[in-house]
C-alpha cells in the first residue's frame, strides 16, 4: 500500500504539472486559469463526495484523553485542529501547487498566484469542515447528489451556465488577492460550527460512541446450489461486504479495469507488446491478487476456531478458489470493450483470464500457506499494510513473470497466435488439474497449521 500511496502522490503531482498544458490543448485560445476556475466547482463537489465516504472525524481517538485533566474545549480544538493535517486536504494541494508553479513560469504574476493558493487552501479547509457536518446524515448525501445532478443537468441543457458563473467567482478570487480572506473566513466559520457542535457532545454516550448500524441480514439462499462449499462461500461474501478493507478492494478491482486504457492509448506499445500481457493478467486478476494474497489471513481473527471446528480444509480452499474464479470471469467480461483497440486486445485478455483461472489461482492459494501475519478486519482500509510480508512480494514473480516470459519466448520464436493458444491451454490444463492441485495445497496448509495459528495470534504486525 505504501507503493500505492507514492503512486497516487506522483500521479497527482503529474496531473497538476500537466494540467496547464491539458487545458491549453482542450480549450485552445482560452486562458487556462479561467477554464480551471470554471472546473473548480466540480472539483470541490467531487472532493466533498469522496470525503463523505472516506473521511471521518477521528473522535474516537479522544476517549483516553477524557480521563486526564485536560479541558474539553482543548480536546475539541485538538480533534478539529488535527483534521486540518488530514491526508485528504493534501490531495488538492498536490495538484494546485504544481499547477501554480507552471502558472508563474508562464508569466502569471507571482503575488496573485500566491494569494490564489491561500484561497484554494481556504476552500479545501471549508470542504473539510463541511464534510464533518454533513457526514452525520444520509439525507445530506442525497442532497449533495441532487445538487451535483442539478448543476450538471442545468449545465447540460444550456439552461444556465453555472460553471461559468462559478468560474467568474473563482477567477475574481484570483484577480483580487485580498478576497482570499473570504474562503478563509468560510473555513473559520466551518470550524466554529463544528466546534460548537462537538464541544457539547464529548461524552461516551453521545458522539464518541461507535455507531452501530442495523445489520441487514440475508440468508443468501441462492448460494445453496454450490452444495458443500455454500457455507464458506456465504461466509466469504459476508467477509468481503461487511469489512471496509475487503470492500475497498472490490471497488479498486472494478476500477482497475480502466488500467489498460493507459497502455492501449500509448503509441509506444504495439498491439502485441508483452506489456499488454502484463496488463491482461493484471486487469483480469486484480481481485485474485488483492484478495488471494491474504488467504487465509482474512480469517486470521478466528483461525483457531476454524481449525478446531468440524471443517474440511479442502472445502474451505475450494470456496476461496471458486470466489476468485468468479471475479476473474467478471473482470474479463468488463474488459471485453478493449476489443475496440483490435482483436489482439480481446485475445490477450481472454488467454490471460484463462491463465489466471487455471494457473494463477492455485499459485496464489499455494503462496497463501506462507501467510502468518494477522489481519485485523476492523481496521480501516486506507494505507493499511497489515498482513503484508515477503510472500506478498514473492508471489508477483510467478503470477506475472511466468506468463510474460512464456509469451515473449513464443512470440519471438513462433507467433502471436501460438503464444495466445499456449497461454490458454496452460490455463485449461490447470483448470482440469484443479482437484489434485487443491489436494496438494490442502496438505501444505495442514502441515503449516500450527505455525499459522501461532502467527495469527500475534496482535502486533
Amino acid at each position: 500500500m505504501i507503493f500505492f500511496g507514492i503512486y497516487m502522490l506522483v500521479s497527482l503531482i503529474g496531473l497538476g504539472t500537466g494540467l496547464y498544458f491539458i487545458l491549453e490543448k482542450i480549450f485552445p485560445g482560452a486562458d487556462p486559469m479561467l477554464k480551471l476556475s470554471e472546473l473548480l466547482i466540480y472539483w470541490l463537489f467531487f472532493e466533498l463526495f469522496v470525503r463523505y465516504f472516506m473521511q471521518k472525524l477521528p473522535v474516537l481517538d479522544v476517549k483516553p484523553l477524557l480521563l486526564l485533566p485536560i479541558k474539553k474545549s482543548t480536546i475539541t480544538h485538538y480533534v478539529l485542529g488535527k483534521s486540518i493535517f488530514s491526508i485528504y486536504n493534501f490531495f488538492a494541494l498536490f495538484i494546485f501547487i504544481p499547477f501554480g508553479i507552471v502558472l508563474m513560469m508562464h508569466g502569471y504574476p507571482m503575488p496573485l498566484v500566491l494569494f490564489w493558493f491561500l484561497s484554494i487552501l481556504g476552500l479545501v479547509l471549508m470542504v473539510n469542515f463541511i464534510n464533518f457536518i454533513i457526514n452525520k446524515s444520509d439525507k445530506a448525501l442525497i442532497g449533495l447528489v441532487l445538487v451535483m445532478g442539478t448543476v450538471r443537468a442545468v449545465e447540460y441543457f444550456d439552461l444556465m451556465p453555472i460553471s461559468k458563473y462559478a468560474g467568474d467567482v473563482f477567477y475574481t478570487l484570483y484577480e483580487n488577492p485580498l478576497l482570499a480572506v473570504i474562503p478563509l473566513l468560510f473555513a473559520v466559520i466551518g470550524y466554529s460550527v463544528n466546534y460548537r457542535f462537538l464541544r457539547n457532545r464529548i461524552f461516551l454516550d453521545a458522539s464518541l460512541k461507535k455507531k452501530n448500524k442495523e445489520v441487514v441480514s440475508s440468508d443468501m439462499g441462492w448460494t445453496k446450489r454450490f452444495g458443500s462449499i455454500a457455507p464458506f462461500l456465504r461466509l466469504d461474501l459476508k467477509l468481503i461486504w461487511r469489512n471496509k478493507r475487503t470492500k475497498m478492494q472490490v471497488f479498486i478491482s472494478l476500477a482497475m479495469v480502466l488500467y489498460g486504457l493507459i497502455f492501449y492509448t500509448m503509441d509506444d506499445f504495439g498491439p502485441q507488446s508483452p506489456m499488454l500481457v502484463f496488463v491482461g493478467i493484471f486487469m483480469t486478476g486484480i481481485f485474485l491478487m488483492n484478495f488471494g494474497q491474504f488467504i487465509p489471513a482474512w480469517d486470521s481473527a478466528y483461525y483457531s476456531m476454524m481449525m478446531s471446528q468440524n471443517i474440511p480444509l479442502r472445502k474451505y480452499l475450494e470456496s476461496k478458489a471458486g470466489l476468485i474464479s468468479v471475479s476473474v470471469v467478471v473482470m474479463f467480461l468488463l474488459s471485453v470493450p478493449y476489443v475496440y483497440f483490435g482483436w489482439e486486445a480481446l485475445a490477450i485478455n481472454f488467454s490471460t483470464a484463462l491463465y489466471n483461472l487455471g494457473v494463477n489461482i492455485p499459485v496464489i492459494l499455494f503462496f497463501g500457506s506462507m501467510n502468518k501475519k494477522r489481519i485485523d478486519l476492523a481496521r480501516s482500509a486506507v494505507g493499511n499494510m497489515q498482513g503484508t510480508g515477503a510472500a506478498q512480494f514473492l508471489v508477483g514473480i510467478p503470477l506475472f513473470g511466468a506468463p510474460m516470459l512464456i509469451y515473449m519466448a513464443l512470440v519471438f520464436f513462433v507467433s502471436f497466435n501460438v503464444a495466445m493458444i499456449v497461454l490458454s491451454v496452460l490455463g485449461i490444463i490447470g483448470f482440469v488439474l484443479r482437484k489434485p492441485l487443491l489436494d496438494k495445497i490442502t496438505n501444505v496448509y495442514r502441515k503449516k497449521k500450527y505455525g499459522m495459528i501461532a502467527g495469527f495470534k500475534e496482535k502486533e504486525s
Binding site: E214, V216, S217, A301, Y302, Y303, N310, K457
Partner: protein, 231 residues
C-alpha cells in the same frame, strides 16, 4: 473418553505442561483450576490440536488428535472470543456452526429456544454484529455455539468470567445437566473456585504445568482448594 499419555509442551527450555497420565471418563464434568500460567489453556489447546505437543499424545474417543481429524465432529469448544466471527450476527454465526456440524436451521432454532433465558433477550434479534456485542454477551454466544450439533465432548475455557450472576448460575445447571443427563464429557477451566466445585464432579489442580491435586468433588472440596491456593 479422553486419555492423556505422557504429554509435555516446552517452549525453548521452559516446560509449560507435563502430564504423565490423565483419564477423563465419558459423561464426567471435569474442572481444571490453577493460577495464571499453570497450563490450563495450553492443555485445552493441545486437546484441540491447535498447538503441537513436544512429547506424548492425547486420545479423544479412540482417536489420536494430532494424527487424525476425526475427533472434530463430536468435539466442540469455546476458548475465547477469537472463536467468534466478528462480522456475523449471532444468528448467522449459530447457523454457520450448525451447517458445519450437520444441523439445519430448524434444529438450530429449536436449540436456541432452550437458551432464551440464558440470552436474556440481548443476543437474538438484535441486528448487531458479534463484534459490537459486550464481552459478556459475546461469551454467551460462544458458549451456546459450543452446544450445537450434539457434541460428546465440550471444552470451555473460563466460561464463568465476564458473565452476569444469573447467567453464571444457569451455566452451572447446564453443565451439570449435560454431564449427568446427556453423558456429555464437559471440560471446564475456571479461576472461580466456588463455581467450579459446584458445577464439576471432579477437580484437577494444575500448578506450573503439573497435576498437584485430583479430587472427586465433595463438601470438603472448596475448603481444600481454598487452603491450597491461600498457601
Amino acid at each position: 473418553m479422553i486419555s492423556v499419555q505422557n504429554i509435555t509442551k516446552k517452549y525453548g527450555t521452559q516446560v509449560v505442561l507435563n502430564l504423565s497420565n490423565l483419564e477423563i471418563p465419558k459423561g464426567q464434568s471435569f474442572g481444571l483450576v490453577g493460577n495464571n500460567g499453570a497450563g490450563k489453556t495450553t492443555f485445552f489447546s493441545l486437546l484441540l490440536d491447535l498447538i503441537r505437543p513436544t512429547t506424548g499424545y492425547i486420545i479423544n474417543n479412540g482417536i489420536q488428535v494430532d494424527v487424525s481429524e476425526d475427533w472434530k465432529p463430536f468435539t466442540s469448544s469455546f476458548i475465547d472470543e477469537t472463536f467468534l466471527i466478528g462480522y456475523l450476527t449471532p444468528e448467522e454465526y449459530f447457523y454457520f456452526i450448525g451447517e458445519l456440524r450437520g444441523q439445519n436451521r430448524a434444529d438450530i432454532d429449536a436449540l436456541l429456544a432452550n437458551f432464551a433465558d440464558f440470552f436474556h433477550g440481548e443476543i437474538l434479534g438484535q441486528k448487531k454484529y458479534l463484534r459490537d456485542l459486550s464481552k459478556g454477551n459475546q461469551k454467551k454466544a460462544g458458549i451456546v455455539a459450543s452446544f450445537i450439533g450434539n457434541p460428546e465432548v465440550i471444552i470451555l475455557d473460563e466460561p464463568f468470567a465476564n458473565l452476569d450472576p444469573s447467567t453464571q448460575i444457569r451455566l452451572k445447571a447446564i453443565i451439570k445437566d449435560l454431564a449427568e443427563q446427556q453423558e456429555v464429557t464437559v471440560l471446564v477451566s475456571s479461576h472461580d473456585l466456588i463455581h467450579v466445585t459446584e458445577a464439576c464432579e471432579r477437580i484437577v489442580v494444575l500448578n506450573k504445568g503439573e497435576i498437584v491435586k485430583d479430587i472427586q468433588t465433595s463438601t470438603e472440596t472448596l475448603r481444600e482448594l481454598e487452603n491450597f491456593f491461600a498457601g
